[in-house]
Amino acid sequence: MAGFDKVVNSYAEAMEGIKDGDTIIAGGFGLCGIPEGLINEIKRKKTQDLTVVSNNCGVDDFGLGVLLHDRQIKKIVASYVGENALFEQQLLDGIIDVELTPQGTLAEKMRAGGAGIPGFYTATGYGTPVAEGKEVKEFNGRPYILEESITGEFAIIKAWKADRYGNLVFRHTAMNFNPMAATAGKITVVEVEEIVEPGELEPSQIHTPGIYVNRVIKGNFEKRIERVTTSK
């Protein structure tokens, strides 16, 4: 790999270096905008004792949920895990540990992790179980809690298009957590629908600059939909 060409050609290469005990930051909201192939590669590699940071944990047989079958996940940091019966079972059985984190706090923790901000204050969660053990500080008479940033050994990201330099563009609401997650990984791997040449993406319309991205792979996506709702 010379210069800034970040394209890799196999999933093995894409997830090279992942090891037991790693923290994985994953983009996606529900099943929307998730790096399907990278998740499957982690399943294939049978990496154990993972801490997964992601808004959700997929469903039983799709998305991050597939990592539950072989008990690859030790802990998950998420805002909502309600779509996943296996998850709930493992939680009740004490196999998996969960740190429920408000959605906006989670997004901001990832952003802060990437931005060199180790902690920030938010009113979100003050006075609730989320605040337990956290420092409280008043600003202008209102109490806020201190939340710490999150980083991980790997970030796994789904984007629409990438150029070879790793500049990313996301499509519609499949953007969601992906841009923040992309900044918070020590190694950030991106699975995309289309790889283009540098210069094809308009510079001021790039959602994630390539500086955050280490590896890019072209994937094939099932794009399963959780709730198809239509109007006539």
Binding site: F29, G30, L31, C32, G33, N55, A78, S79, Y80, V81, G82, E83, E88, L91, V98, L100, P102, Q103, G104, T105, A107, E108, M110, R111, T122, A123, T124, G125, Y126, G127, T128, P129, V130, W160, F170, R171, H172, T173, A174, M175, N176, F177, N178, P179, M180, H207, K223, R224, I225, E226, R227, V228, T229, T230, S231, K232
Partner: protein, 220 residues
């Protein structure tokens, strides 16, 4: 008679003002979008990253990459903006959303709300609810006034783990419209045909009833 889900949504819709940016939670709040009064425009914010949520798509418009916070397929309205989740919650936490409507298990007379967890029974997570109640200047809670077993959901102190503190300003139930202030529930309106006595009997927290309580008005 107690309001239907649609009627609760209709009453909430009367609180909308022209130019409001509104976040509607799952359930009854979602229905509010169907009853926006004539002559009023509102824009719906969906916390996964969409400002200007449109109607559900037709079957051939369905796009896996275009969903709302309830993970339903939606469309983007004309003039919509799409952004990442940090930006979406910056908007919410920063108080830029004019109105948040959400459901709850319980509300208490301090304006505390419990809506996300029933210990040992329901541990799905809070999603964006804690951010919404912490960030919104204006929160309306919709819920049934009492549980199926007749237990009041308007309490002196919430019994369930909280979603947020001192944040609920207004409650629209199937029986009444109430304001929360100064450590009490103020009865503002009652559902057509529902007596003040029934509301009193189903409100466990401190309830203030001042003067005649009008019935809710619904446009024809």
């Amino acid at each position: 008679m107690a309001l239907s889900r649609e009627q609760v949504a209709m009453r909430v819709a009367q609180e909308l003002k022209d130019g409001y940016y509104v976040n509607l939670g799952i359930g009854i709040p979602t229905l509010v979008a169907n009853f926006v009064p004539k002559g009023i425009e509102v824009m719906l914010q969906s916390e996964n990253g969409l400002l200007g949520m449109g109607p559900y798509p037709t079957e051939d418009q369905v796009d896996a990459d275009m969903i709302n916070a309830g993970k339903e397929t939606v469309t983007a309205a004309t003039g919509a903006a799409i952004f990442n989740s940090a930006e979406s919650f910056a908007m919410i936490r920063g108080g830029h959303v004019d109105l948040t409507v959400l459901g709850a298990f319980e509300v208490d007379q301090q304006g505390n709300i419990a809506s996300w967890m029933i210990p040992k029974k329901l541990i799905k997570g809070m999603g964006g609810a804690m951010d919404l109640v912490a960030g919104a200047q204006n929160i309306i809670v919709t819920m049934t006034h009492a549980s199926k077993h007749g237990d009041s959901k308007l309490l002196e102190t919430c019994s369930l783990p909280l979603t947020g503190v001192n944040c609920v300003k207004k409650i629209v139930t199937d029986l009444a419209v109430l304001e929360v202030k100064d450590g009490a529930f103020y009865l503002l309106e009652r559902a057509p045909g529902v007596s003040v006595d029934e509301i009193i009997s189903k409100t466990a927290g401190k309830l203030i009833v001042e003067g005649d309580i009008p019935e809710m008005q619904f446009a024809e």
